[in-house]
Symmetry: C2
């Protein structure tokens, strides 16, 4: 991969710098190359959302914080993209929520899991699940089915970010609540999740942490995820 | 990179297979890793367009074919994504149009250019420009400024696909007509090109070749690229 510095005159300097961070993730063996494609898809939707957090995302964040407070075993599922994009923010969320961290990968390898765990620990994480898989999510053909019984296996609430939709569906069928962060409100992940935050993880995760720290925070009692998704779609369609 | 076969039960099997083709391009040193991000962005827009060629793209293809017939020195600019996605189709277009092929890369290296030239030759290309750069596109800070005087340097019409917008702008300022294939009608490339085909290259390039082979083909005399872009944006927004 080229290490040539990007000319600052380039009109998408900021966006390209973000991409380079993910490229570094690939180089370090943390991010799978196809993770770059998922990132690009997210970029397109974020572009249509003017790269800002909308009210429908803020409402979903408030609802997610409420569910996290009520949960008995909240687990944050981490993959190669999120650990390259915002490892510190994810660890801060784990700390503020008292939740567990578990690495779960589509292209699973022990080497990659170890590297991601190491990156999260460098960002301040203490315990990270995922290396030893002693449980399964049923009805899932990919390696994402492999989970830890003490982590996702016994979770009542799971946060997934930048996901493939079949896993969210399988987790719901296993009786778990799922909070998803997904820039595409039409995706299966977005439609199958209990609460969908249609926003960039880089913006949404720190906002969720801040919401958890707020005293007297409250969310809409009549929260309706389908309505949130309709609002998100409208924003993308309207531009 | 994982070579594990993808479970056929995965709901996006076809889409993921395409991604694997691009991944192979990265592995072979043809596609730059950040090219995967650009591909992902395209995927998102294609998704919103229901992965089909719309009438606004067909109109742009008809107009592009007309301009190609009139051109004195038509050059097809090839990068790491397009040569991984549809090398055969690009070579067929060069043959049908009598146009030249030139490799032009953002992350330029002699090694990558040689590999891309080799891939195009395997697909039937005879001469491919780009390895020796003896001319420049003025006003362009990146390595994409490096061109061949016999190729893009003396072209009156250039086809660019999956591009960064500043190059299209610089080519226009250099007095050349530009046909762009870009799934994002809001991008700088789309807005700065003379003719913008808002479609997936994999679908658009064979259609352009077919259009060139048609006898008595005609395009709209009142072709207006801004109108085409408005129609494309409307299709994406409307869904």
């Amino acid at each position: 991969m080229s290490q040539k510095p990007l000319p600052k005159s380039h009109p998408r300097f900021s966006s390209l710098s973000q991409r380079h961070a993910l490229e570094a993730g690939v180089k370090d063996g943390i991010t799978h190359p196809t993770g770059l494609i998922a990132f690009g898809r997210g970029e397109a939707f974020d572009y249509l959302l003017h790269e800002k957090t909308h009210p429908f995302a803020q409402k979903a964040i408030a609802k997610a914080a409420q569910e996290i407070r009520k949960a008995k075993n909240f687990v944050i599922s981490v993959n190669g993209n999120t650990s390259a994009l915002c490892p510190r923010e994810i660890v801060q969320l784990a700390r503020a929520s008292g939740g567990k961290l578990e690495v779960n990968l589509f292209y699973r390898s022990e080497e990659r899991i170890k590297k991601i765990i190491s990156a999260l620990k460098k960002s301040g994480a203490k315990k990270v699940y995922g290396l030893k898989d002693d449980a399964r999510v049923s009805g899932l053909a990919s390696d994402r089915a492999k989970i830890s019984s003490k982590g996702i296996g016994s979770a009542d609430l799971v946060l997934v970010m930048l996901e493939d939709g079949d896993r969210t569906e399988a987790l719901r069928k296993a009786g778990k609540k799922v909070i998803a962060v997904d820039l595409n409100p039409l995706s299966r992940t977005a439609r199958k999740a209990s609460i969908t935050i249609v926003d960039n993880v880089v913006r949404a995760i720190p906002l969720l942490t801040a919401e958890l720290k707020k005293k007297g925070a409250k969310s809409d009692a009549a929260y309706n995820n389908k309505k949130i998704l309709r609002q998100a779609e409208k924003a993308i369609r309207k531009g």
